[in-house]
């Protein structure tokens, strides 16, 4: 049995909230450069150049890439041989968010009640998922989710007979309807299978993979490739002003499902795709 104090978790969450907001991922940066080679729209190209410049300024001045510094989603995989001490782990995670958003000069974008809408002023609570896994480590994954892109996400219960074509059509329809709203170039996370909430969760987890990552399942890897090609033929382009660069990547996650169903969720993320992980 390994003992971990929850204050260590708090510190990690705090640092990841700040770091991920200031420093763009190497995968996104590489994807910008790659897109610059293929983009044919002059406005599109100039936007990609500006986004690279934006990332450079943010990293240099240590300020947020984007003003929507997101709602914090945390995936905590806790080894079953770990004993967490020093307090309530969920409170520790929220405290990490609170300190990160205050000390990092990040925007507080959370309201306490979805209908009364009073800002909690510290960006808490975070959305926390715990998983118990073998081993004596704790893995923390953090995603800082902007809502311009979150608002364009969708779930649909397809029929089993809709099959892979149905999945493709739904993803394309979702991206097409989103148009310029989620700040393209976007990253698309797709969850297929499970139940309605499982599909949505898979889509979110898909966004935690690196943008150039490929599925280990051959048929899903092929689906990711087809979807990326089809999305980039829609013409939406950087910021929706036309071009070949609508998405930087598509990640698909699958899970067993019921004989009667084919749940699909599409979680859209913007180029400000901010996520990080740490193993304690």
């Amino acid at each position: 049995m390994r003992t971990i104090d929850v204050s260590v978790i708090k510190e990690s969450i705090k640092h990841m909230c700040i770091d991920a907001n200031y420093n763009i991922g190497a995968d996104i940066q590489a994807a910008f450069h790659k897109s610059l080679e293929t983009e044919t729209s002059p406005i599109g190209k100039s936007i990609l150049v500006d986004l690279l410049e934006n990332a450079r300024i943010a990293g240099e001045k240590q300020v947020p890439i984007c003003q929507d510094t997101g709602m914090v989603v945390v995936f905590a995989e806790v080894g079953q041989d770990v004993h967490l001490v020093g307090g309530d782990v969920k409170m520790a995670i929220d405290q990490g968010i609170r300190e990160g958003y205050e000390e990092g000069y990040l925007r507080k974008s959370v309201v306490a009640d979805p209908l009364n809408r009073v800002n909690t002023k510290d960006n808490t609570p975070g959305i926390v998922y715990f998983d118990i896994v073998p081993g004596d480590q704790v893995k923390l994954k953090v995603a800082l989710k902007g809502f311009g892109s979150e608002n364009m996400s969708k779930t649909k219960m397809l029929k089993p007979s809709d099959g892979i074509k149905g999945v493709e059509a739904f993803v394309l329809e979702t991206v097409s309807l989103a148009g310029p709203n989620p700040c393209p170039p976007i990253v698309v996370g797709v969850g297929v299978g499970g139940t309605i909430e499982k599909a949505a969760l898979l889509a979110k987890q898909a966004l935690l993979r690196s943008v150039d990552d490929e599925s280990t399942l051959p048929h899903i890897k092929a689906l990711e490739k087809t979807l990326l090609e089809q999305i980039n033929q829609l013409g939406i382009g950087p910021q929706g002003l036309g071009g070949k660069t609508t998405a930087l990547g598509v990640n698909v996650e699958v899970f067993p499902t019921h004989i009667a169903g084919l749940p699909v969720a599409v979680n859209i993320n913007c180029h400000a795709s901010r996520h990080m992980e740490v193993i304690l």
């Binding site: 934006n54 300024i57 148009g179 709203n181």
Partner: protein
């Protein structure tokens, strides 16, 4: 492409001269306002109360910046998605608002209002908040301070980079350009 320079407040002549697709650098005053501030302004108009600033000729930027770090004028300040302000826009256009800066589509009601009253919809680059902050030279809260990031701020900007997406004739770059680059 040659960028056009304009100053705010905007005259009707400036509005007429701007066309969808123009890349523009704005200098002058720009007011910030997003969801909550719009709700309050519309409520004020409904109750025949004064707006927190005279909108005649002005430009509103849909943004909720991050807090400024010590020594900085403003935090990161890229645009937020505009459609959420669609139902709260025409009364402001009627009062003389001539420009809006945001990102994403507007509905037909807004476009019709822009044609009728003469206004421009500009897009700033979504997610380029650190870059955009460089063109903001001063920032002062003028109303609704309790709304935090959603308070109305008066910004003085120099060469604030935007693109005309919808002009005062209703020409919409989101529609025309996407069509052009789509593979059929």
């Amino acid at each position: 492409m040659q960028k056009k320079r304009i100053n705010t407040p905007m005259t009707q002549e400036t509005v007429k001269a701007l066309k969808a697709g123009d890349q523009v650098l704005i200098s002058g005053t720009v007011y910030t306002g997003r969801d909550a501030a719009h709700l309050r302004m519309i409520k004020a108009l409904e109750n025949d109360e004064a707006l927190p600033f005279d909108v005649e000729g002005q430009v509103i930027y849909y943004v909720g910046p991050t807090p400024a770090k010590p020594g900085e004028v403003i935090g990161s300040c890229g645009p937020t998605t505009s459609y959420r302000m669609d139902d709260l826009t025409v009364p402001l256009l009627k009062k003389g608002l001539r420009g809006m800066i945001g990102k994403g589509e507007r509905n037909q009601t807004v476009i019709d209002g822009m044609k009728k009253f003469g206004a421009i919809y500009f897009a700033a680059i979504g997610g380029a908040g650190a870059l955009i902050a460089n063109s903001v030279k001063s920032s002062e809260i003028v109303a609704y301070e309790e709304l935090g990031p959603e308070a109305v701020r008066k910004l003085e900007v120099i060469d604030f980079p935007v693109i005309v997406v919808i002009d005062s004739e209703g020409k919409n770059l989101y529609e025309t350009e996407r069509e052009q680059y789509a593979t059929k």
